[in-house]
Symmetry: C5
Subunit: 99 residues, 5 copies
């Protein structure tokens, strides 16, 4: 999995029927230092994440292993909202300390 | 998923029999700012997208999860036509505002 | 899928038994302008492609969705021979015009 | 598989229900010389690895082939703790020689 | 598939139980000219390859399609030992001509 920040949404009314009702979130992928990179992914939200939150997403066939995404043409799913991220004893991100 | 713009087509008469009747669209992949990148993918169209439209595609095994692509040797499928794409409150793309 | 040009072959007598009789083609991957890139892939040929032809290949589990490659340890398959490739109204490649 | 060093953890209380009880480790991916690269992956730990250890991880659908990760939305799993890593007769890493 | 040269091994006594008895080989991935690149992959050996040999490996779920790797958390498998590799009529590699 990689970590990303929810920075936006995609609206698509004309889509595969299995995708009805699902929410497409745009994630800016974070680098190893927790800084936003220039890369993104559009992921289906399986955990109720909101814009501004740091999340974890799974890609590939594993993206279809949530109740929301089972058997859908989805290759990226938000499967967790990050509370804290620690590297070598230092806190890179702590949700409760964010404004 | 990633976002792409339909910029062309590939015609292939000699192909795996399961691919008969499917349409191959060339997508120019868009970067996080909505600008066309130098990378592309050829995707099978499951939603009736036309040249010039901004679409979303799924890759890998998830590309076989549409009615059109089930059990086919296809690793990229257009599964949605994008109406709008919003980042941090700003509209990056809005189909109804395009010429 | 991506587009590639068949530029060579790999011969391997000692291989997984499921791969007996299959042909390994070396593809030079083409960029968005139809120019050969520095990247390659070795793909199993499911459509009878020859050296010099422009083809389309599928990667990952989708590479096992042809009759030739079903259940084999193959992650790339040539599933179509390209007749023509058109971008924004211009022909990037047309097989019948090649020498 | 690639090799990585466990350098941290991710805590996520709000996650897909199938992921309850699993541990998310942050791996810094090692390059061919055994040096830490700038890339990372968050992997579920299936073997009891600790911070500072060099491990091997599997990505994609293969990440779901451990008892811990079966049928979960997980695309990276630590499936081995590395004892030794030898290249061209030279030891790149030997766990027993580490401090 | 890509081509690689076996340059080493990884020993891991603490691993997922399905991986008992399997051999982890380190492959240096070869570029289109047959030169070693700076990238590597650790692959399970399904064909009895030795250090110094040029091999072909399959990645992703296809890596589980050999008898040795079926249902294991393995995302890369050596599925062929290369005898010869020819590009545009020129021999890039021929095992019988190697020292």
């Amino acid at each position: 999995m990689l970590l990303g920040k929810v920075i936006g949404t995609v609206v698509a009314s004309q889509k595969d029927t299995k995708l009805e009702g699902l929410k497409f979130q745009v994630l800016q992928i974070l680098d190893i230092a927790g800084k936003p990179s220039e890369t993104y992914v559009v992921a289906i939200d399986a955990v109720g994440a909101g814009v501004g939150e740091v999340v974890m997403y799974a890609a590939g066939s594993s993206a279809r292993q949530t109740g929301a995404t089972h058997n859908t043409p989805c290759d990226a799913v938000i499967m967790a909202i990050v509370d804290a991220w620690t590297l070598e004893g230092k806190t890179v991100y702590n949700k409760s300390e964010e404004g």
